[in-house]
């Protein structure tokens, strides 16, 4: 996947690039509108991560530009403003998703993959990871033609982990993904453990492999 990161904060840009590059993706980055538009003119991208507040204008300009030249890259907006109007404006002029700062890189990656998949394969597509086949439109999971019933949370978690395969995901990131950032329960991560345990068990029963490894209380890794 070829990715363009338009973000003026260097630290954040580097962090995103590092997290995404390791996958074998190609990541390009720039910090303002002018260079972003030059790059868009020169190359084609699969996805663009777009910050709204840029030094030389609002990121919406790029969305309008893409629309005007008839390009349909996936665009995911990164904004410091959690405002409904900005969100609606962005989505109306062609953005595919909107994520509010601060966010976890794992969340960003899961969202990016989801919009990319939707755009590239339409709604009828199957996600395959090792033996696991996931029918994204039917929300069903089968391993070696055996359908496994997951709860909604387990299913969400599975997709989340597959999107971030090989990465350590912190408990904070998992909690925020599953319960949203409205629910503020930093003191009790125990209930995440319950879900992971169930998911792990169900996958192990069919495949005999343990997909999860726990990383010293900080989080989990899906292999």
């Amino acid at each position: 996947m070829k990715l363009l990161i338009v973000e003026d904060e260097q630290g954040l840009r580097e962090a995103i690039q590092k997290y995404f590059t390791e996958e074998g993706n190609i990541c390009e980055e720039c910090s303002d509108l002018k260079i972003a538009i030059q790059k868009i003119d020169l190359y084609e991208y699969d996805c663009i991560l777009l910050d709204i507040g840029l030094p030389d204008g609002e990121g919406f300009t790029i969305l309008e530009y893409l629309k005007s030249i008839g390009r349909d890259e996936c665009v995911l907006i990164i904004s410091a403003r959690n405002s409904l109007e900005d969100k609606l404006k962005g989505l109306n002029i062609g953005a595919d998703d909107y994520i509010t700062k601060p966010f976890h890189l794992s969340e960003l990656k899961a969202r990016l993959q989801a919009v990319f998949r939707r755009k590239a394969f339409g709604s009828t597509n199957t996600l395959i990871y090792k033996d696991i086949h996931i029918d994204l439109s039917g929300r069903s999971v089968s391993i070696n033609n055996n359908e496994i019933i997951f709860t909604k949370k387990e299913y969400d978690m599975l997709l989340y982990f597959i999107a971030n395969k090989g990465k350590v995901i912190s408990k904070n990131a998992i909690a925020e993904h599953l319960w949203g950032d409205e629910i503020d329960m930093i003191d009790s991560f125990d209930f995440i453990y319950t879900h992971i345990k169930n998911l792990r068990k169900k996958l192990m029963e069919v495949t005999g492999t343990d997909f999860f490894s726990s990383i010293y209380g900080v989080g989990y890794k899906f292999i």
Binding site: G11, L12, P102, S170, F191, G217
Partner: protein, 416 residues
């Protein structure tokens, strides 16, 4: 009492007393003039009488020229002519009327007589009555006109004042609509109007400036926060980290998470204060509560809390976002400060919502708990949850109260 009434009362008291005094003076003067006129008449009569006696050498008949004349023989050598009030018998009507008399001494045929001439006073009395009546009527009309003009003119004059007062009463610091200046001819009110407009504009702009600052500051903090979070997300990928280092990282995660929440809470407060959330819609509150209850279910189970919900159907018109935040904060508060194996009771009866929770803490100070950043020593929340709740309630004019009874902390919201 209104200023106009005070003024009215004073002006009426003064006018009435002035009118009474002037009426008295008027009466006395008229009376005096009338009497003088009568006395002049009588003096003339006396002259005529004396010349009659001198010419005719006889006393005239008693009824003389409509005046009644009487004589009394006297031995007095001298008698001062005097004028005085006396009854007058009208010969046509044989009625006693008020009259004016003059008595004097006349020397006739070697004898002294005291003569008395009485003249009717009725016409003068009548004149005085007419004049008094006219005066009373004029006074009444004057008073009436005075009251009416005071009422209308004063009210008209004071209208700009009441406009300004009305503006001040409805003044909302977060409202950016500027006072509509109505032209008034009264200098004082124009000055007042100018002063109030300037003051409100300055206050509003200062307040807006402060709010914008808070909003910008909170937004600006989100970017560095996301740098911290994303750097941590990358850092934990390092396989060389040992458990102690990961433990430290977990703490940094928690701190940055808390900071982000704090920031979000401040932004919500700014949004409520600035009335930025106007996406009002009709919501079924019981549905919102049940949905949130579902979301919090695992956390509640995890703490082994018994949740009981008893809801009447109720609809409210408000921002979905704010109501979500409100219910969220009620739940978070009830769960966070609960004890293991505790209970949460949610009830809605009529238009009153009640959240009750058990806790290890005893009664809280209801004056302080809704203050920003007021929190218990053991609480690791932001200290803004209840402040936000309070702000949302006052934003929609819902009444939020805290009570403590039978070991339960009770938060009650009256939606009327």
């Amino acid at each position: 009492m209104k200023l106009a009434s005070h003024y009215n009362r004073a002006s009426i008291i003064i006018s009435v007393s002035m009118l009474i005094i002037s009426a008295c003076i008027y009466y006395v003067i008229i009376n005096h003039i009338a009497r003088k006129e009568l006395d002049d008449d009588l003096s003339e009569e006396v002259g005529e009488f004396i010349s009659y006696v001198n010419n005719n050498h006889s006393l005239p008949v008693a009824q003389y020229d409509e005046n009644q004349t009487s004589y009394i023989k006297t031995n007095l050598k001298s008698f001062n002519t005097r004028f005085y009030d006396a009854p007058y018998t009208n010969p046509n009507h044989t009625e006693i009327e008020p009259g004016r008399a003059v008595s004097g001494l006349i020397h006739f045929n070697g004898e002294n007589y005291i003569f008395t001439i009485v003249e009717s006073r009725e016409e003068t009395e009548y004149l005085i009555q007419i004049i008094s009546l006219v005066t009373v009527i004029l006074t009444a009309i004057l008073l009436f006109v005075l009251v009416v003009t005071n009422m209308f003119v004063l009210n008209g004059l004071w209208r700009p004042f009441y406009n300004i007062l009305g503006f001040l009463k409805s003044f909302n610091i977060s409202d950016i609509t500027i006072i509509t200046t109505k032209n008034t001819k009264v200098d004082e009110f124009r000055d007042l109007n100018d002063a109030v407009s300037k003051m409100s504009a300055r206050v509003t702009s200062d307040y807006q400036g402060l709010k914008t600052f808070t909003e910008n500051a909170s937004h600006e903090m989100m970017t560095p926060l996301s740098v911290i979070t994303s750097k941590l997300d990358n850092l934990i990928q390092d396989e060389r980290l040992d458990s102690d280092q990961l433990k430290e990282i977990t703490d940094i995660y928690s701190a940055s998470n808390k900071l982000a929440r704090l920031n979000q809470s401040l932004l919500i407060l700014v949004k409520i204060d600035n009335d930025l959330l106007q996406d009002n819609e009709t919501l079924n509150l019981s549905a919102v509560i049940l949905e949130k209850g579902q979301q919090f279910q695992e956390i509640i189970k995890n703490k082994k809390i018994i949740l009981s919900i008893e809801l009447d159907n109720m609809e409210i018109t408000a921002s979905k976002y704010l109501i979500d935040v409100m219910v969220n904060n009620l739940f978070s508060n009830a769960i966070r400060h609960n004890k293991a194996n505790g209970e949460i009771k949610i009830g809605m009866c009529g238009r009153t919502l009640v959240f009750q929770n058990s806790s290890d803490q005893s009664e809280l100070n209801s004056e302080l708990i809704f203050n920003r950043f007021y929190k218990g020593k053991t609480s690791d929340g932001t200290g803004l949850g209840l402040a936000i709740l309070k702000n949302i309630c006052s934003h929609y004019c819902f009444e939020l109260t805290y009570k403590y009874s039978n070991g339960l902390h009770i938060f009650e919201i009256d939606f009327n």
